[in-house]
């Protein structure tokens, strides 16, 4: 049985010419597996992630025919009930640690807060759990790092702190919204390997949102390709080469090969699917 069921999700923003749909009716279901969502910027993939947590900021508005998580109808949950689910059962790794970690709170306190919001624990136990979690995300000298502020640590370390923060209450589903886009290429693999191993070890579901096709193909079991607020392609990660939609084909064709014999990489020809 699927853990997450989403049917006909729409997210719209008001404009001078009436509401504009940015996400145009997305449906998906996710079990304890790794699902990748790929698309260019503005395709609505991040909004989809946030909508699942019901965290669309005003003036944005979301509608869905169905949004169920583990048998709970999220659409009918009050904000208070959502708060108990967020972090504890559904969590999200945000994009850039430079902006998404709180600038004037110590790293350890931020991680501890994620735990304290959901479990009543003694001070000493909280501290032990935080240190243990920092070790799990492979941070050396966790006691010292816990006392630092986000501006004192590197981007890669910041993202590992973010992962620690989001995984410490042991959620069932983790949404990773471009978790490595703000990081150096050399650090990207480390962070993704980490997410991958933690998710697999705990038997969690993962929704990896990215603009990088190859990356998603490597770390996910199944892939959704999004364009202009719609899902245009859904396939198993291994069958990406057999993609049928012209957008996906165009994206794949634009990826440089190891042995390249083309003088110029092809540019997406949008007229083939959008009709403009």
């Amino acid at each position: 049985m699927a853990m997450l069921e989403l049917e006909n999700l729409r997210v719209s923003f008001p404009s001078a010419e009436g509401p504009v749909d940015v996400v145009k009716g997305i449906s998906l279901s996710l079990g304890r597996e790794r699902l990748g969502i790929v698309g260019e910027s503005g395709s609505g993939k991040s909004l989809t992630g946030r909508a699942i947590l019901k965290l669309i900021n005003r003036p944005g508005v979301m509608h869905a025919d169905r949004l169920e998580f583990d048998g709970i109808d999220l659409l009918s949950q009050s904000e208070r009930q959502m708060r108990h689910l967020r972090g504890a059962r559904l969590s999200m790794v945000m994009q850039d640690p430079k902006f998404s970690l709180h600038p004037v709170m110590r790293v350890g306190d931020q991680i501890a807060e994620a735990l304290r919001c959901h479990e009543r624990l003694r001070r000493r136990d909280v501290k032990a759990r935080v240190i243990e979690m920092l070790e799990k995300v492979r941070i050396n000298e966790p006691e010292a790092v816990a006392r630092l502020y986000p501006h004192q640590i590197s981007g890669g370390m910041g993202q590992r702190v973010m992962i620690a923060m989001m995984l410490i209450p042991k959620p069932d589903l983790l949404i990773a919204d471009e978790p490595t886009s703000a990081l150096d290429v050399s650090v990207q693999a480390t962070v993704l390997d980490l997410i991958d191993s933690l998710v697999t070890d705990n038997g969690m579901g993962l929704m990896l949102i990215s603009h990088d096709l190859n990356l998603v193909a490597r770390y996910c079991d199944r892939i959704l390709v999004m364009n202009a607020g719609e899902v245009v392609e859904e396939c198993a990660a291994g069958q990406l080469q057999q993609a049928t939609h012209p957008y996906t084909q165009g994206l794949l064709a634009a990826v440089p090969q190891m042995v390249e014999d083309r003088d110029e990489l092809p540019v997406l020809d949008r007229s083939r699917w959008s009709g403009t």
Partner: protein
């Protein structure tokens, strides 16, 4: 504080321990701080000194009168040391100020320094109560308005804040007096206390509320309270209007930050998102705003002090200006300048304490 990396043990015999090094660091910072304050103060003295020279009021004439003969005028000029070169005059001015000699006021015929010691606490008392009201009500109002952006509460708070700019102080003072003093009789009228209490309390701090409590005279204390309530509330309202407006816009900026979303993703309760995650980073900006409006109040609200016959520094400065009483004007300017320097430096220190990013 332990450093993240384990250092090899310091060889025995090396005298500087960690706590000593810390003290050395703190005292060095303190010295640098005092130096900067002294330098700023010197610049302030230079400004007041040159204002005194540039303003077309002849200090000699104001003493000898405009019917004095040329010989008398010259003699007075030399006696006042005005024939000496400007730098020499400046240094003797600095020396005078440092020894507490600000000259004699022509209009009150007393030492300016003792005048200031009387009028400044009156303003300080009212401004302090005003800023406390402004902060205690203005900050929560701003936070509330930001978290309910676009609601009717937000609109009411914005209207209130706007009226703080639009309504003239003297009008509010007069209407307040007419309503609460003349009609309802809830508060006492103008002045710091009723006439028959005058002179009962020996000034120690100059703050009437404090002095009357020190003397154990609760009658005077409550009388003084009923006198200060209305003007302090009006000052508080103006401070509140500004502080609430600024708090609201700082908070709105914070609430759109990514780390606020992070907090909500973690499942942090709403009040904690607001008062911890969003509020912690704006404390530094708020300190600037509060410090500036406190300094503004300490400058003395001329309107309020006039309407309420409040013997404060704003009133004193205005009377001195109208009488071309240069010593009093310069003395009061110096005090106001010092207030700004002190409040600025205090907020710098608070910055360092509150924001780990600026702490070095």
């Amino acid at each position: 504080m332990s450093s993240p990396t384990a250092k090899p043990p310091v060889p025995a015999g090396n005298v500087t321990t960690r706590s000593e090094a810390r003290w050395l660091f703190i005292s060095r910072k303190l010295l640098g701080f005092l130096f900067v304050v002294a330098l700023t103060f010197l610049a302030l003295l230079a400004v007041t000194f040159f204002i005194g020279r540039i303003i077309p009021i002849d200090p000699v004439l104001s003493i000898v009168g405009d019917r004095a003969s040329n010989e008398v005028y010259e003699a007075a000029r030399i006696a006042m040391g005005l024939d000496r070169p400007l730098p020499v005059q400046f240094f003797s001015y600095v020396g005078d100020v440092l020894s507490g000699d600000l000259g004699r006021s022509v209009s009150t015929n007393r030492e300016v320094i003792s005048d200031l010691a009387r009028v400044f606490p009156a303003t300080l008392e009212m401004a302090t109560i005003g800023i406390i009201i402004g902060v205690l009500i203005g900050v929560p109002m701003g936070v509330f308005a930001a978290s309910h952006q676009g609601s009717w509460v937000d609109h009411i708070i914005r209207m209130l804040a706007l009226s703080g700019y639009a309504v003239p102080a003297f009008w509010l003072g007069l209407v307040g007096l007419a309503l609460f003093y003349a009609n309802l009789g809830w508060v006492a009228g103008p002045g710091r206390m009723d006439v028959y209490f005058e002179g009962l309390i020996e000034p120690v701090t100059g703050l009437l509320l404090v002095d009357s409590l020190l003397a154990g005279d609760t009658d005077v204390f409550w009388n003084a309270v009923s006198h200060i309530v209305l003007p302090a509330l009006i000052l508080g309202f103006f401070a509140l209007a500004y502080i609430a407006r600024m708090t609201r816009s700082f908070m709105l900026d914070q609430l759109s930050q990514e780390y606020i979303t992070t907090a909500r993703v973690k499942g942090v309760p709403g009040w904690r998102v607001l008062w911890v995650h969003a509020f912690l980073p704006i404390r530094v900006q708020l300190i600037t705003v509060i410090g500036l409006s406190y300094a503004g109040l300490l400058e003395g609200s001329v309107m309020i002090e006039t309407v309420f016959s409040w013997p404060g520094i704003g009133n004193y400065l205005t009377v001195a200006l109208l009488n071309a009483d240069m010593n009093a004007v310069l003395g009061a300017t110096l005090v106001i300048g010092m207030v700004f320097i002190i409040i600025n430096k205090l907020s710098d220190v608070l910055y360092g304490l509150l924001d780990p990013r600026s702490a070095r």
